[in-house]
Amino acid sequence: MKQYIARRVGYSLLSLFLLSVTIFLFVRVTGDPVSLLVEPGASPEDIENIRHQLGLDQPLWEQYWHFMANLAAGDLGQSFYYRTPVLELYFQRLPHSLLLAAVAMALSLLIGIPSGILAAVRVDGFWDSAGKIFALLGLSLPSFWVGLVLILFFSVYLGWLPSSGSGGVAHLLMPAFTLGWYFAAAHMRLTRSSMLEVLGSEYIKLARLKGLPEALVIGKHALKNALIPVITLAGINLVVMINVAVVVETVFAWPGIGRLLYEGITFRDFPVVQGVVIIGGAMIVLVNLLVDILYALIDPRIRLES
C-alpha cells in the first residue's frame, strides 16, 4: 500500500511539473507583457528598462530556474500588473470564487436533482420533458446573454437587485443562478440516469414487492443510492466552476479567480497566469490523488492492477 501511494504521489508531482513547464513556455511564446505596460510608441530604452525590472531580459532557462526555486519555497512571484504577490491576490479572490461556486452549485443541484428525479419517475411524461428542456436551456444559452437579460430585468427594469459587484446576498443571486443553471443540465441528466439505474435494481424491486409506499421507495431507498454519483460529480464540478466562471465574473463584475486569470492572460501577467494555473492544477491533481488512494484502500485489486 505504501508503495502504491508513493507511486501515485510521484505521478502527481510529475504531472504538476509538466504543467508548470507547459504554462511557463506557453505564456512566453505568445505575447510580450511590456508592450501592454506602455503605450505603443514608447521609447525603446524605456521598454528595455521595464523588461529589466520584470526580469524578462534574463535567458529563459534562468527565468525558469528562478520560478521553480521560488515555487519550491512556496512563492509564486509577483504580479507584473498589480505588483502584488500572486498568492496574496489568489487568496483575496478565492473566498469570492468559493462563495459563488458554492451557491451556484447549490442552485444547480436544486434545479438538477428534483427535475432529474421527476424525469426518472415519469419517464417521457410531461415533467420529464419540461425538466429536461429547462435544464438544457441553461446549457444552450450563453451565460453572457443570460446574465445581461437578468440584469436588464431584475436590475434595470424591476430595480430589485444590484447590477454587479460583490457584497450582500443580493449581489450573489444573479451570478450564482447564471453559473448554476449552466451546470444544472449535467446534474439533472446524471440524477435521472442514476435514478433509473437504481430503480431497476433488485433491492428496489424487493422493496416494492414488500409493499412499501412508492414515495418511500423513491424518496428514501432509491434516492440515497442514486445521489452518490451525483454528489461525486458535483464535487469535481465545484473545482471546475472555480476555474471557469470567467464569463459570469466579467458580466457581473464579480472579483473571482476566473477573472484574475483572464486579466492575467490579457495583460500577459506571467506570474499570475502561472500561479493560477498551477494552483488550479494542484487542486485537481490533489482531488484525484485522494480519490485514487481512497479507492485503493477500499478495493485492493486496483493496487495490484497498476
Partner: protein, 520 residues
C-alpha cells in the same frame, strides 16, 4: 495628455505663473463653502492596480492618471485652460543655456499625513521615479540641488528640449510623494497605504473590486466639495451602463457604440465625450516593397478616399471623434494640420483604375486589435465598395502589439497610439527609421527627424517637424482614421463632472472641482 513647455514659453511665462499662483491663493483664501459632503461613485472599465497609487511606478499608459489626480499632486501638471499649470511650484525658470531649471515651491502645502511638502520631497520623488520614462530622465538629469525648503534646481547633463514634456507630463516623476513617510513604510507599505498631496486621501482598496478615497480638506488649491470618492471596477460595458442607469454609479467610463446611443436616450443621464490623444490609422507595411501593390502611392491615397469617416464616427462614437487626417494627436506640441480628409469613393476608384486595378484587387489581410475590430468591420465595407477586397484579421491585443512591433504584419494594419509625448516622440516610434512600429522609412523624413532632434530653438524645431508631418501626409504613408473620442456617461446626481476640463484627458479631473447637485 498634453504637457510641454518650450524654452521660450517658460522664460516668458515666469511672471504669468506667479500671477496664476496668486490668483489661486486668492481663490483658496475665500471662505470655504462648508465641509465636503456626499459620495460619488465611478464605474471604471479596467482593473485598478496598486502601482497606480505610486507616481514612481507610473507605466507609460494614461490610465493611472485617473487615480493620480485624486491622491497626488505634481510640480506642474495639466489643468483646465493650461496644459502645464504650476501646482506645487509657484514659479520656475530655465537658464539661458537650457541646462538648469530653478523651481520655487508653494509654501504651506501639506501631505495627507500632515507633513509639510518641501524641496527634499521633490528631489526624492524625481530620483525615486522608476516608471516607463525613467531611463530617458535619468540619462539626462545630472543632479538636483536644494537651496532651501522651497527652492531647488534641476540640472541636466545636456540641453534637452523635451525635458518638461517628460517631467511635468505623464511620466510621473514630477508627482510628489512624502520622503519621510516612504522611508518609514517602504515601497510595499506605501502601495498599501499611499500618502500624497492631492485633493483626496486613500481610505481602502480591494483589488478587482473598489478603491475608496476621502476628501483632504487641507488641499492647497481648494477644499473638495465631495466627501467620498469610490472607484468601482465593472469590466463589462453593458453592465457599467446598467449600473449607471440604476444610479449604482454616478460616472461610467468608456461607453461605446450603440450603448452610447442608449446613454444619450436615457433621461437624466448625460454623455461626456472627451477627445483622447489616441489617433487611429491604417498603415501599409509593404509600401517599401516594389513588388507589393501598396508600393503605389495612388492605392494608399485611394484607401484614404474610400473611408467614410463621418459615418464611421457617427456610428461608433456618435460623431465625437475627430477626423484630423493625421496620425499625430491634434493636441500635441508641434502639430501640423493636414488638409481635412474627404470621402470620395469615385476618386478612389479612379486612382485604382490609374494604378491598373480597374476591377478592384485582393489586397490581402487587414490586421487589427480585437478590441477595435468594430472599426475594422466597418472600414472593410468601405474598402470593398471601391474594389479593395481585404480579409479582417483581428488579433488579441497582446498578440497584435507583439506582431506589430516585431514587424510581422503585412498588407494593412489598423493601429493606434495613446502614448504621451509630442509630435517628435510620435515620429520616432512610427515614422523615423528604426522606430518600434516603422516597417520602413523615407530618407528625407529621416533627415528631418535627425535635424529636429538637435534643434534647441523652438520655432525652428517646429518648422522642421511641420515639414516632417507634411512629408508623411504627402507620401500617404498612413491612411489616418480619426482621433478617438472616449465616451463616458454621467448620472443625474452629478453637478460638475470634470469631464473635458483638461484638454486631451479622457477621465474626470480635477477632482476638487467636481460637485454633486444641490451640494455646491
Amino acid at each position: 495628455m498634453r504637457t510641454s513647455l518650450s524654452q521660450s514659453a517658460l522664460t516668458t511665462r515666469r511672471d504669468l505663473m506667479g500671477l496664476a499662483a496668486l490668483g489661486l491663493i486668492a481663490s483658496a483664501a475665500k471662505p470655504a463653502a462648508g465641509a465636503p459632503d456626499g459620495e460619488l461613485r465611478v464605474g471604471v472599465h479596467v482593473s485598478l492596480a496598486p502601482t497606480w497609487f505610486d507616481p514612481a511606478e507610473t507605466p507609460g499608459i494614461i490610465t493611472p492618471f485617473m487615480l493620480l489626480y485624486a491622491m497626488h499632486d505634481a510640480v506642474l501638471k495639466a489643468m483646465p485652460d493650461d496644459p502645464m499649470a504650476p501646482c506645487l511650484a509657484e514659479s520656475g525658470t530655465m537658464s539661458a543655456d537650457g541646462l538648469s531649471y530653478a523651481l520655487s515651491l508653494r509654501k504651506g502645502v501639506k501631505f495627507h499625513n500632515g507633513d509639510p511638502l518641501t524641496a527634499e520631497d521633490v528631489k526624492f520623488s524625481l530620483e525615486r521615479y522608476r516608471g516607463a520614462a525613467s531611463k530617458s530622465l535619468k540619462d539626462r538629469v545630472a543632479r538636483v540641488d536644494i537651496h532651501d525648503p522651497h527652492r531647488l534646481t534641476i540640472r541636466l547633463k545636456e540641453p534637452w528640449p523635451d525635458f518638461l514634456t517628460f517631467y511635468a507630463g505623464a511620466s510621473g516623476a514630477g508627482w510628489i510623494v512624502p520622503k519621510k513617510y516612504l522611508e518609514q513604510v517602504g515601497d510595499e507599505g506605501f502601495k498599501k497605504a499611499p500618502v500624497g498631496a492631492g485633493p483626496y486621501k486613500f481610505v481602502s482598496f480591494t483589488p478587482g473590486v473598489e478603491l475608496v478615497c476621502e476628501a483632504f480638506e487641507e488641499y492647497w488649491r481648494k477644499k473638495p466639495t465631495i466627501k467620498r470618492l469610490v472607484f468601482k471596477v465593472i469590466p463589462d460595458e453593458a453592465t457599467r451602463l446598467a449600473a449607471l442607469q440604476r444610479s449604482e454609479v454616478d460616472i461610467a467610463y468608456s461607453i461605446r457604440g450603440e450603448l452610447a446611443d442608449e446613454l444619450q436616450r436615457t433621461p437624466g443621464l448625460t454623455i461626456n465625450p472627451a477627445l483622447s490623444s489616441a489617433p487611429f490609422w491604417l498603415y501599409f507595411p509593404d509600401q517599401w516593397d516594389p513588388q507589393s501593390p501598396w508600393h503605389d502611392r495612388r492605392l494608399r491615397q485611394a484607401v484614404s478616399l474610400a473611408l467614410d469617416l463621418k459615418t464611421i464616427n457617427e456610428a461608433l462614437t456618435l460623431g465625437h471623434s475627430r477626423a484630423t487626417g493625421s496620425i499625430f494627436p491634434v493636441n500635441f506640441e508641434f502639430y501640423w494640420q493636414p488638409p481635412t480628409p474627404v470621402y470620395d469613393p469615385a476618386s478612389a476608384r479612379k486612382l485604382l483604375a490609374e494604378a491598373g486595378h480597374a476591377r478592384g484587387f485582393d489586397a490581402g489581410d487587414y490586421y487589427c486589435d480585437t478590441s477595435y475590430a468594430n472599426i475594422g468591420e466597418v472600414a472593410l465595407n468601405n474598402l470593398r465598395e471601391v474594389g479593395i477586397r481585404v480579409r479582417l484579421r483581428p488579433l488579441e491585443r497582446a498578440a497584435f502589439f507583439k506582431a506589430y512591433s516585431e514587424k510581422k504584419l503585412k498588407n494593412i494594419v489598423q493601429g493606434a497610439s495613446g502614448a504621451f509625448g509630442n509630435c517628435a516622440t510620435r515620429a520616432e516610434a512610427f515614422v523615423a527609421k528604426g522606430g518600434t512600429y516603422a516597417y520602413g522609412s523615407y530618407p528625407d523624413i529621416d533627415a528631418l527627424f535627425a535635424e529636429q532632434a538637435v534643434q534647441m530653438d523652438r520655432a525652428r524645431r517646429e518648422a522642421i517637424l511641420h515639414r516632417l508631418q507634411q512629408a508623411v501626409h504627402d507620401k500617404a504613408m498612413y491612411a489616418p482614421i480619426f482621433q478617438l473620442a472616449f465616451i463616458s456617461g454621467v448620472g443625474p446626481r452629478v453637478g460638475q463632472s470634470g469631464f473635458g476640463l483638461i484638454k486631451g484627458f479622457a477621465y474626470t479631473a480635477p477632482y476638487e472641482d467636481m460637485t454633486l447637485k444641490g451640494k455646491a
